[in-house]
């Protein structure tokens, strides 16, 4: 177990360096120069450009730029934006917001997805099964922004049940609707995966044995069936956290949440490589760690899986 963990952690290093360089290179190769659109139709004065070019080493080669960026990064310096803000500040304020939203979304999709999956997996081809099938197809087919705008319009503007945008305090109650919007498509996937998994294991030998032993149904489903059927669901949920954080940009925009989505978009448009890389680096770390956690969870769920 310990050796496995160390090996996995060591694998993070090349992945980390590779992704950061790729991202740096991609942003660097976006066409256009960062000052072309910055000062409007008039263009930036040459002295301003000269000052900024020198300050941000924009005339160095990509290798030099990347090397100096990494050097600063390892000293804990994420750099500053063209507007003079510390990128570490931006990360520190926007990440918790996105993380909060993603966790709420994850919780909602786990509850809805698992609930629907278990119910339909146990009673296949019934009315409920068909209802869930149709509604999950519907959720998957609807783009996130449609769900977002429709819910915001009806719940927020028409009926006044929620405030249309999320306040700066990011209260839990305000995040339920955005969380549902963000997690809606995933919850449909989870429902379907859980349903298949439960339905398959329903006929497994150990379930039949458990029923034959006369265990109450609640225990058969809750302990034996569910635990074994959870593996694909956990994989989906674990990798989804990263996807939710990276993909929250539309939801954040609709509900006015100050998250990483807007920061990345702004930075890409203005060619601020340092900001993009800084935010994405943390996102990459989230992905890697979540994947590791999922792998470790397998062992807890299925005693047959052991790591060496």
């Amino acid at each position: 177990m310990g050796r496995y963990l160390v090996r996995r952690l060591l694998q993070l290093v090349p992945v980390f360096i590779g992704t950061t360089f790729l991202i740096y290179w991609l942003v660097w190769s976006v066409p256009g120069d960062p000052f072309a659109g910055k000062c409007g139709d008039r263009g930036c004065p040459p002295n301003y450009r000269a000052m900024m070019t020198e300050k941000y080493h924009l005339d160095d080669s990509i290798w030099v730029q990347y090397a100096s960026y990494m050097k600063n990064l390892f000293q804990g310096d994420f750099g500053i934006t063209f507007g003079g803000r510390e990128i570490s500040d931006i990360i520190a304020t926007s990440y918790p917001n996105t993380l909060k939203l993603a966790v709420v979304a994850l919780a909602i999709e786990a509850i809805i997805g698992l609930g629907a999956g278990v119910l339909t997996g146990l009673r296949r081809n019934g009315f409920l099964d068909n209802l869930v099938l149709v509604s999950s197809l519907f959720l998957i087919a609807l783009p996130v922004f449609v769900i977002g705008f429709v819910l915001q319009w009806f719940l927020g503007v028409k009926w006044g049940i929620i405030t249309p945008t999320v306040s700066n305090e990011m209260r839990f109650s305000e995040l339920i609707v955005p969380g549902f919007v963000l997690g809606s498509a995933s919850s449909a996937y989870i429902a379907r995966v859980a349903r298949t998994s439960i339905a398959e294991n329903r006929r497994a030998d150990y379930v039949r044995t458990a029923i034959a032993k006369g265990l109450p149904m609640r225990r058969v489903v809750g302990v034996h069936l569910l635990r074994n059927s959870l593996i694909p669901v956990v994989t989906l949920l674990g990798t989804d956290l990263g996807a939710l954080m990276g993909g929250a940009i539309i939801t954040e925009g609709i509900f006015g949440i100050n998250g990483i989505g807007r920061q990345v978009l702004r930075a890409i448009v203005t060619k601020e490589s340092a900001t993009v890389v800084g935010i994405v680096v943390v996102l990459v770390l989230v992905y890697l760690i979540m994947n590791l956690l999922v792998d470790l969870l397998y062992a807890a769920l299925d005693p047959r899986i052991r790591y060496e």
């Binding site: 409007g40 139709d41 002295n47 249309p164 509900f255 006015g256």
Partner: protein, 547 residues
């Protein structure tokens, strides 16, 4: 000009029903309840300022409007778009439009309690004009004597390896402090419009506190001298402003607190406005304009106003194919502007019929004869010019809503002139501007112009004079240059305007660009606000708000 930085719909979609003066007030003119106003607070929409708030370094609307509220300048532009009036200036005197004696009102205060003195202006302007400080608005000081010594140009262009050399002087030789309340400005050449420029944010005074710290530090918590002061600024979330009780120029704020909430999406702001969580939105989203939905939604709280900004399509005159003026005129005459504004903008913008926006002092409505729709004459001129070979591209930046109207224009040129015209979207404004700035355009392209200060001069010198800061198509007519030079140096504004009118007549013959529409603005406010006015450029006049 300032440029809007909102991610969606970066340019305001305009409405201008009547080309009367802007700055209209809402349906209810009775004014509000004085006691409700006194401690009242409102929430309005905004975008994150791109840079720390230093007046001479702000060129975008998000920070620009905060600067306009937090600072008061020597002159102000009335909400109705008329000629500028003295604000902080007691008097601005000149006999030759070259040397200006400026006397300021005594004992007005900065927000930190220090007094605004003549020196506050001179030091601020010297800072902005000193090249190595890299102020984005430095070029506004180029009229003043000694600018060439404080601001050196990059010898081989911005992309070349050489850096601009160290300037010879640290201060403008044309600025002289006489005493605490008087200073003298000497320009390098007579410029009648100089006093008008003084209301632009680049010319605001700075307190001593600015020079004791770095611009970046100062700009996070700026100290101005306007009717409202900044309390706090939380990046990407909100800016909190409150009334400055020691303000003694013109109107004080009637309400107390203003929160500028930062939105990344204008639809989110609009929904907050409808739900009563937001009190003012300067520009409602494009989606709410179709079928006049915003008017149904807001009723009496909808404000339609005109702003001094025009949509233009420009020619790259450095390209041989566009050097024949008959061809340029033919293209301009083949465009049915009325149809474009009616069908694409639902009548919310007005077809352009003059070279300068008609809201501007000195502009003459209807002086663009090339802006008429005359397909027969267009065909005749095209033939006379020998036709047009190949494909005619009309480029626009696809990150804002320009696709529809650019395509409509291309279609009209195609139908009326049989030219293979096609609208081409360039992904981002940055790439689009990079191509324009490096003179690499091979077809016509979208341009826009919003005035910096209300005078016709601002619509001619930067756009149509050889070497003008935004003359991107390299249009050059020595007669226009000579007339514009005479006009700029005229001893009075009236004479300047007369000369500019002559220059415009020549421009109208050459058709260096194709004006298409005049912009407007559609704003909305909450039920809480009983009285509200907009400034000449369509920003909220913060001192007018009553609850």
């Amino acid at each position: 000009m300032r440029v809007s930085k909102r991610a969606s719909g970066a340019l305001a979609v305009g409405a201008a029903l009547a080309l009367v003066a802007s700055g209209c007030s809402s349906g209810n003119d009775d004014g509000g309840d004085a006691s409700a106003s006194k401690d009242g607070a409102i929430v309005i929409d905004g975008t994150q300022p791109e840079n720390p708030l230093v007046p001479a370094n702000t060129t975008e609307t998000g920070g620009g409007k905060i600067i306009d509220w937090v600072w008061s300048g020597l002159v102000e532009y009335p909400n109705n778009g008329g000629a500028p009036q003295n604000l902080l200036a007691e008097s601005i005197e000149t006999s030759d439009s070259k040397v200006f004696k400026i006397k300021i009102k005594q004992n007005t205060k900065f927000h930190d309690g220090t007094t605004v003195k003549a020196e506050s202006f001179v030091k601020a302007w010297n800072w902005a004009a000193y090249g190595p400080n890299g102020a984005q608005n430095a070029s506004f000081f180029s009229d003043i004597q000694g600018f060439a010594d404080t601001y050196t140009e990059d010898p081989d262009g911005p992309d070349g390896p050489k850096k601009p050399e160290e300037p010879k002087a640290k201060e403008l030789s044309g600025l002289k402090v006489i005493d605490d309340w008087n200073f003298e400005v000497t320009l390098s050449a007579p410029t009648a419009v100089f006093p008008t420029k003084l209301g632009y944010s680049a010319f605001m005074p700075l307190p001593d506190a600015f020079f004791a710290t770095t611009p970046a530090e100062f700009g996070k918590k700026p100290i101005g001298n306007g009717p409202v002061k900044l309390v706090s600024w939380q990046d990407d979330v909100e800016l909190k402003l409150t009334r400055f009780d020691d303000y003694s120029l013109r109107d004080k704020m009637k309400i107390k607190d203003v929160t500028v909430k930062i939105y990344q999406d204008d639809t989110a702001a609009y929904n907050d406005l409808l739900a009563g969580n937001l009190d003012f939105q300067q520009q409602v989203p494009v989606s709410s304009l179709a079928g006049d939905k915003w008017k149904t939604d807001l009723g009496e709280r909808a404000i339609q106003t005109t702003i001094p900004s025009s949509g233009i399509i420009a020619f790259p005159i450095y390209d041989k194919r566009f050097q024949n003026k008959d061809l340029r005129r033919a293209i301009s005459l083949s465009i049915n502007r009325q149809e474009v504004t009616d069908k694409i903008f639902f009548g919310n913008r007005k077809p352009a019929d003059s070279w300068a926006n008609p809201l501007t002092p000195g502009a003459e409505p209807g002086n663009c004869t090339a802006c008429k729709f005359d397909p027969t004459e267009a065909k005749r001129l095209l033939q006379q010019a020998g036709g047009f070979q190949g494909k005619l591209t009309l480029s626009y930046n696809a990150d804002a809503s320009h696709k529809e109207w650019m395509e409509a224009v291309a279609q009209q040129i195609k139908t009326n002139l049989n030219i293979d015209a096609v609208a081409v979207g360039v992904p981002t404004f940055a790439v689009f501007r990079a191509n324009i700035n490096s003179y690499k355009m091979t077809g016509m392209y979208r341009a826009g112009w919003q005035q910096d200060y209300p005078d016709v001069e601002n619509w001619i010198n930067p756009l149509y004079v050889t070497g003008g800061s935004s003359n991107d198509g390299k249009y050059s007519n020595p007669q226009v240059d000579a007339l514009a030079k005479e006009a700029s140096a005229a001893p009075s504004l009236e004479e300047a305007h007369k000369k500019f009118a002559e220059a415009v007549k020549l421009i109208d013959q050459d058709v260096p660009t194709v004006p298409i529409y005049f912009s407007g603005e559609q704003s909305g406010h909450s039920e809480k606000i009983k009285k509200i006015e907009l400034t000449n450029v369509g920003e909220l006049d913060i001192t007018s708000v009553e609850l």
